[in-house]
Amino acid sequence: MNKARHNKTNVIAAHAALIAYTLIALFPVFVIVINSFKTRRAIFREPLALPNADTFSMVGYETVLKQGDFFLYFQNSMIVTVVSLFFILLFGAMAAFALAEYRFKGNTLMGLYLALGIMIPIRIGTVAILDMMVATGLVNTLWALILVYTAQGLPLAVFILSEFMKQVSDDLKNAGRIDGLSEYRIFFNLVLPLVRPAMATVAVFNMIPIWNDLWFPLILAPAEEVKTLTLGSQVFIGQFVTDWNAVLSALSLAILPVMALYVVFSRQLIRGITSGAVK
C-alpha cells in the first residue's frame, strides 16, 4: 500500500518534470508563431495572447513574400540538401561496401583515413576551400555547397553503412556470384535494398545540419540567386529588424519546412539515434 502510493507520487513527479521541460522547449516556437499572425499593436500589448478576430493580421507575411525571394531560397536549400544526400548515400554506400566486403591491402588504413573526418570539423579548412572554389569558378554556385556537404557527410556515412553491410549474409552474395552477377549488380541489386533502413538513418542525420548550415552559404555562396533559406532568412531579418511583423513571419516561415520534415522523419531519426548507429 505504502509502496503503491510512493510509486504514484513518483509517476506524477516524472510527468511534471517532463511537461515542464516540454513547455520550455516549445514555448519560444509557440510565441513566435502566434505573434506572426497578429497586428503590430497586439504583438506588443498582449504578446502571450492567441490572435483573435480583432488582432489577426497577415501583414508580416505580405511583407515577407513581397520583399524576400523565399521561394527561390527554399528551392536552393532543397536542391543543395537533396543532391548532397544523394551523393553522400551513393558514394558512402559504395565505399562502405568496398571496406566491408573485400579483403585488400590497406583496408584498415583506408577505413581509418575515412573515419578521420568524423571528429575533425570541415570548417577548419574553410580558408583553403574558398581558395579552391574561387580558383575553379565554383564560388557562388550551388555546386560549391553540394561538394562541401558531400565531403562533410561521407565519413560518418561510410562508418555507419559499413557496420550494417558486414551483417549482410555472405551466402546471399555468393549465390549471386554463382548465378553470374557482376560485383556491381551484387552491390546495387542485392546489398543496397537490404541496408535501406541504415541509408535512411544516414540521410536523416545529414539532412538537418545541411539544411540549417549558415557558415558555408555565408562564405561560399552569398549571392542573391544561390542563397539558401537559412542564409536568406538571416539576411532578411537583419534588414527588417524594426519591422516586427515581418521578422516574426519570416521566422515562422523558416520554422515551417523543418517542422514538416521532422514530422515526416522523426520516427526514423529517433530510431536511428536510439538503435546505436552513432555509438
Binding site: 517532463l18 565505399a95 578521420l116 575533425i120 580558408v127 558531400t150 565531403a151 532568412s233 529517433i270 546505436g276
Partner: protein, 308 residues
C-alpha cells in the same frame, strides 16, 4: 576457377567502389585542411604570397592587439563549453533517466517534443530568443513580473557580464535533445538481469540509478562530452545570428569561430586576412586535436574496462 584473372578483376571493383568517396573527401576536406595549415605559414607581401614561417603565430600570440582578442575568444569558448558540460549534459541525463522508466506513458511524445529545438536552425533560435529576451517586447520581464521576480530582469544579451552565459544557455536549450537521446539509448541497452540482480540485493530507485546505471552509461557520457567539445570549439552560427560578426557587446561573446570569421573575411573597415585566418584555424585544429586525443587515449581506453 581462372585464378590468373581473379585478383586483377577484384582490384578494379574495389577501386571503382572506393574512388568517388575517397576523391571527394580528399579533395574537399583533407587537402583543404592541410592547405589551411600550410597557408598559416604565408603572408601577403606586396600582393604576392610569401613564406613567412611562424610569423603569423608570433603576431597572433605576441602582438598585444591580436593576442588580447585570441585569449578573450579562447576563454569565452571555454566558458561556453563549461556551461554546456554543467547544464546541458546533466539535464540531458536527467531527462533520459526519467524517460527510460519502462512504464512511463507518452514517453515518445515527450521525446519528440523535447527534441524539436535541436532541429531548428541557429538563425531561428538566435532571433527567437533575442526577441523574447528583448526589453522592447517585454515577454521575459512580463513573465518574471507574473511570478514576482521582475527585479531579476536585465537586458541580458546587451550586458557584457551576462551576454555570453545567456547565449550559452540558449545553445543548451537548443541541443539538450542530443545527450538526452544518446543516454536514453544507452539506458535502454542495460540488460534487465543486472537491474533484477540489484533489486534482489535491495538496490532500487535512485540508488539503482547512481550505483548501477550511471557507471554503465559512463562510456556514453564520454561520447557526449567529446561531441560537445568538438561542436563548441567550432561553433559560430548562434553567436553570429544573435550578436553579429562583432560578437558584442564589446566582444564579450566572441568565440574562436566568430574571431576566425572576422579575421578571415574582414568586417566594417578591417580588411580580411586569409593568412591570419588560417593561423587561427590552425590553433582551433590544435585545440580540437588535443581534446580528441585526451578523449581517445585517457578516457575511452580506461572506460572500456568497465564494460561487459
Amino acid at each position: 576457377m581462372n585464378s590468373t584473372q581473379k585478383p586483377s578483376r577484384i582490384k578494379w571493383h574495389i577501386f571503382v567502389f572506393l574512388a568517388p568517396a575517397v576523391l571527394v573527401y580528399t579533395a574537399v576536406m583533407i587537402y583543404p585542411l592541410f592547405n589551411t595549415l600550410r597557408l598559416s605559414l604565408y603572408s601577403e607581401v606586396a600582393q604576392a604570397r610569401e613564406f613567412v614561417g611562424l610569423e603569423n603565430f608570433k603576431t597572433l600570440f605576441g602582438d598585444e592587439n591580436w593576442s588580447k582578442q585570441f585569449w578573450n575568444a579562447l576563454g569565452n569558448n571555454f566558458w561556453f563549453f563549461i556551461i554546456h558540460m554543467l547544464v546541458q549534459n546533466p539535464i540531458g541525463i536527467l531527462l533520459a533517466a526519467i524517460l527510460s522508466h519502462p512504464k512511463l506513458r507518452f514517453a515518445s511524445f515527450y521525446r519528440s517534443a523535447i527534441f524539436i529545438p535541436t532541429i531548428l536552425s541557429f538563425v531561428i533560435v538566435g532571433f527567437a530568443w533575442k526577441l523574447i529576451l528583448s526589453p522592447i517586447w517585454g515577454i521575459a520581464p512580463g513573465m518574471l513580473d507574473a511570478v514576482g521576480l521582475k527585479s531579476l530582469y536585465a537586458p541580458w544579451l546587451g550586458r557584457e557580464a551576462y551576454a555570453l552565459t545567456t547565449l550559452s544557455l540558449v545553445s543548451v536549450w537548443q541541443f539538450v535533445g542530443i545527450p538526452m537521446m544518446l543516454i536514453y539509448a544507452a539506458l535502454l541497452s542495460i540488460p534487465e538481469e543486472i537491474l533484477e540482480a540489484g533489486e534482489c540485493d535491495g538496490i532500487t530507485g535512485a540508488a539503482a540509478f547512481w550505483k548501477i546505471k550511471l557507471p554503465l552509461i559512463l562510456p556514453s557520457i564520454g561520447i557526449i562530452s567529446i561531441l560537445t567539445f568538438v561542436a563548441n570549439f567550432n561553433a559560430f552560427d548562434l553567436i553570429y545570428a544573435a550578436q553579429g560578426a562583432l560578437a558584442g557587446p564589446d566582444f564579450s561573446t566572441d568565440i574562436l569561430g566568430t574571431f576566425m570569421y572576422r579575421t578571415f573575411f574582414g568586417f566594417q573597415l578591417q580588411l580580411g586576412d586569409p593568412h591570419m585566418g588560417s593561423a587561427i584555424a590552425s590553433a582551433m585544429f590544435a585545440i580540437i586535436l588535443v581534446g580528441v586525443c585526451i578523449y581517445l587515449f585517457a578516457i575511452q581506453s580506461r572506460m572500456r574496462r568497465y564494460q561487459f
